[in-house]
């Protein structure tokens, strides 16, 4: 789960990481109130989970209440790369002496934590990595041992941050690492991390991705998930406990297993179509789950055909077939459905479906054939 900048900063603050005084606002009046208490000049920043908001006009400096009104009014409701701005973050503007980059993430190949620190902050780290890889100081951290202040100091020296920033940066990095680990982040990134002209080091931005597998030990995350998604299809799927990702195509996908669901998207694409979604209904493809899945797909007006791709292992295909029929009795589905049921008891499963098959409910034996038919139906 990706956090908005303001949520990331609030999360950082819990771990003692210094951020600028500021607050979040959903209206122009709220923005002015926050600005008054943060102190002018302020920066008004669009809260969207996409990069490039500065270039899009989503970050503005304001030196008085009138300017806050003007900028907040323009930014709220702005569309940045398909993301509508619903909230802004208003904070006291900093006088920047230097900009750095700092992050912690998992080094998957080596199965340790990876810290990255650079004296070249404020730009895309992938650009720095490509153009000037030596400007990034990397540290491998054993997850069992963690990051000591001593190791952080060495790391900061290696990254050649300004002398005036080094001790504060070392302490901040240890706190950021604690946030990364105890806060169960997949990514904790500060870009830029700044040294102000009056000698303070703090986080000017926050990019935090939380590991949803750790939700059970973070009841405080409930406030983040409330604002997480704007896609109404994903919202509905979440309410129904389904593993769903909305896409832009016209073929609705239901499959059992993450790998098979991904593979179904690929096959639909290979035969010239495009998927409307990723949806993994897991192992137990019973009538309840199938009905919920069909309802979510049905809520998507772009869906012109539905491809149900099930491989029966322990869940037998005859049980799945019964589940599909029962689900279809419960929910009215607008689009035609193509089923591909394979695996354990596939023959019995297809026999159960046989009397119900029509132009709007088609069963085919292989993934590719079924994908072709679904794509053809979606196109006509």
């Amino acid at each position: 789960m990706d956090l908005f900048e303001y949520q990331g900063k609030q999360y950082f603050a819990r771990f003692g990481i210094p951020v600028s005084p500021g607050g979040v606002a959903e209206t122009v009046d709220e923005a002015v109130a926050v600005a008054e208490s943060a102190g002018y000049p302020v920066v008004v920043k669009a809260q969207v989970k996409v990069g490039g908001r500065g270039k899009a006009g989503g970050i503005k400096l304001a030196s008085n209440a009138d300017e806050v009104r003007t900028h907040a009014g323009a930014i709220l409701g702005m569309d940045i790369k398909g993301h509508v701005v619903r909230r802004i973050w208003v904070e006291n503007a900093s006088d920047i002496a230097s900009e750095y980059y700092a992050s912690f993430t998992l080094d998957r190949p080596n199965k340790v934590h990876l810290g990255m620190l650079s004296s070249e902050g404020g730009v895309e780290i992938e650009e720095v990595a490509a153009n000037n890889p030596d400007a990034i100081a990397r540290i491998a951290i054993d997850p069992v041992r963690g990051l000591s202040l001593e190791a952080a100091r060495k790391w900061v020296d290696e990254a050649e941050l300004d002398e005036a920033a080094r001790e504060q940066a070392s302490e901040l990095l240890v706190k950021l690492y604690t946030c990364y680990v105890e806060g169960d982040c997949d990514l904790a990134e500060i870009n830029p991390l700044i040294l102000t002209t009056d000698g303070r080091v703090h986080a000017l931005d926050a990019k935090v991705t939380l590991d949803e597998n750790a939700t059970f030990r973070h009841p405080e995350w409930a406030e983040f998930s409330a604002t997480e998604t704007e896609d109404p299809r994903e919202q509905l799927a979440k309410e129904k406990g389904l593993n769903y990702i909305g896409l832009d195509g016209s073929v609705g996908i239901i499959a059992n297993g993450a790998g098979l669901a991904m593979s179904t998207l690929d096959v639909v694409n290979q035969v010239g179509g495009s998927a409307a979604n990723f949806l993994d209904i897991g192992g137990g493809a019973n009538a309840d789950v199938m009905a919920a899945a069909l309802e979510v797909i049905n809520s998507d007006p772009k869906v012109k055909a539905i491809f149900v791709n099930i491989f029966g292992g322990i869940t037998r295909v005859d049980e799945v077939a019964k589940g599909v029929l029962e689900a279809l009795e419960r929910v009215h589905i607008a689009a035609p459905i193509v089923l591909r049921l394979d695996g354990t008891n596939a023959v019995a499963g297809r026999a159960i479906l046989e009397p119900h098959l029509s132009e709007r409910l088609v069963a085919l034996p292989t993934m590719v054939e079924a994908a072709k038919r679904a794509v053809a139906l979606a196109g006509s």
């Binding site: 990706d2 998992l106 998957r108 190949p109 199965k111 340790v112 934590h113 992938e126 054993d142 997850p143 069992v144 680990v181 169960d184 997949d186 590991d211 949803e212 597998n213 750790a214 059970f216 030990r217 593993n243 990702i245 896409l247 499959a255 059992n256 297993g257 993450a258 790998g259 098979l260 669901a261 991904m262 593979s263 998207l265 690929d266 096959v267 639909v268 694409n269 290979q270 495009s274 998927a275 990723f278 993994d280 192992g283 491989f311 292992g313 322990i314 394979d342 695996g343 354990t344 292989t366 993934m367 590719v368």
Partner: protein, 294 residues
């Protein structure tokens, strides 16, 4: 021959008295696996359909001589269960639990490497391992597998593995061992571990590998294959059309920035001489052709 397990492997089930553990543990026994005990703290002395339950892995090992464990406990307790098994001397741990926090997994992995180098972990979040006709630990349906080899399978995805097993078995092509390494970001056993074991196994004559987006294990496997693998390899990588930045069902199946794309993995495997296919059906067909020409 099979890799990692065989007909003599004695298995305990951690979480045997829970719903999943009981269901799959009993199915594994029905398949012919030597399921010799279960572990649930506080339930020692009970039994599940004749399988004795112990309070700790140490007790179970002492009483049964088990060398393998099947961990089927909730995410909150899973890494502690894995480490308990390792501390009790279990050499092969299969963990099917989905939803373990990434930091727990990374800590657990590193503790195993540092303190228990004699223990191999398969998973977490994996379907398990089946050596057809000999041993089945995990959730794979035994009847879609066919004994006798000559194909070894290694996969990050459960259902795609079943699909592959099914395609091969339907054509009369058997498997030596089918290993599901799982879809999490810190798998205990990786592609290279399995490829090396298959390369060393005289009965395995060809290998199918099924990858997916996220991480760089497929690329690393490709490097290993070009340097060490003499046997033919067929591969399929799922997620060509997956959008970046989204976890596609599995915690580890995510394209981060420009890293972890299916395209890059397929290119690396192709360059290593692997026969790369576009979907699981094609992978099955290609493998059948290869086996028939051996």
């Amino acid at each position: 021959m099979s890799i990692f397990v065989d007909e003599s492997t004695k298995v305990i089930v951690q979480g045997l008295t829970g719903g999943q553990g009981r269901f799959h543990g009993l199915r594994n026994r029905d398949y012919g696996t030597q399921v010799v005990g279960g572990v649930t703290p506080g339930k020692g002395g009970q039994d599940v359909e004749g399988i004795p339950v112990f309070d700790s892995v140490a007790d179970a090992v002492e009483a049964t001589g088990a060398t393998a464990s099947f961990v089927s406990v909730p995410p909150k307790f899973a890494t502690a269960a894995i480490l308990e098994a390792a501390a009790a001397g279990i050499s092969f741990v299969v963990c099917i639990t989905e939803g373990i926090p990434a930091h727990d997994e990374a800590r657990c992995y590193n503790v195993l490497v540092e303190d228990f180098p004699g223990t191999r972990l398969l998973g977490p979040n994996c379907p398990g391992i089946i050596s057809p006709g000999k041993c089945n630990i995990g959730i794979t349906s035994g009847d879609i597998a066919l004994a006798g080899g000559p194909v070894g399978i290694v996969s990050r995805s459960g259902t795609l593995t079943y699909q592959a097993l099914h395609e091969l078995s339907a054509q009369g092509v058997g498997q030596t061992t089918c290993v599901g390494i799982g879809g999490d970001p810190v798998p205990g056993t990786n592609f290279i571990d399995c490829l090396a074991a298959f390369e060393a196994d005289p009965e395995t004559r060809a290998v199918m590998m099924i990858g997916e987006i996220g991480g760089s294990e497929e690329e690393r496997a490709a490097t290993w294959i070009s340097a060490h693998m003499s046997k033919p390899v067929v591969a399929y990588v799922a997620g060509v059309t997956a959008p970046p930045g989204r976890k596609m069902g599995h915690a580890g199946a995510i394209i981060s920035g420009s890293k972890g794309t299916a395209q890059a993995k397929m290119e690396a495997l192709t360059a290593a001489g692997v026969s790369v296919t576009r979907n699981p059906t094609e992978a099955g067909e290609r493998m059948v052709d290869i086996v028939r020409s051996l």
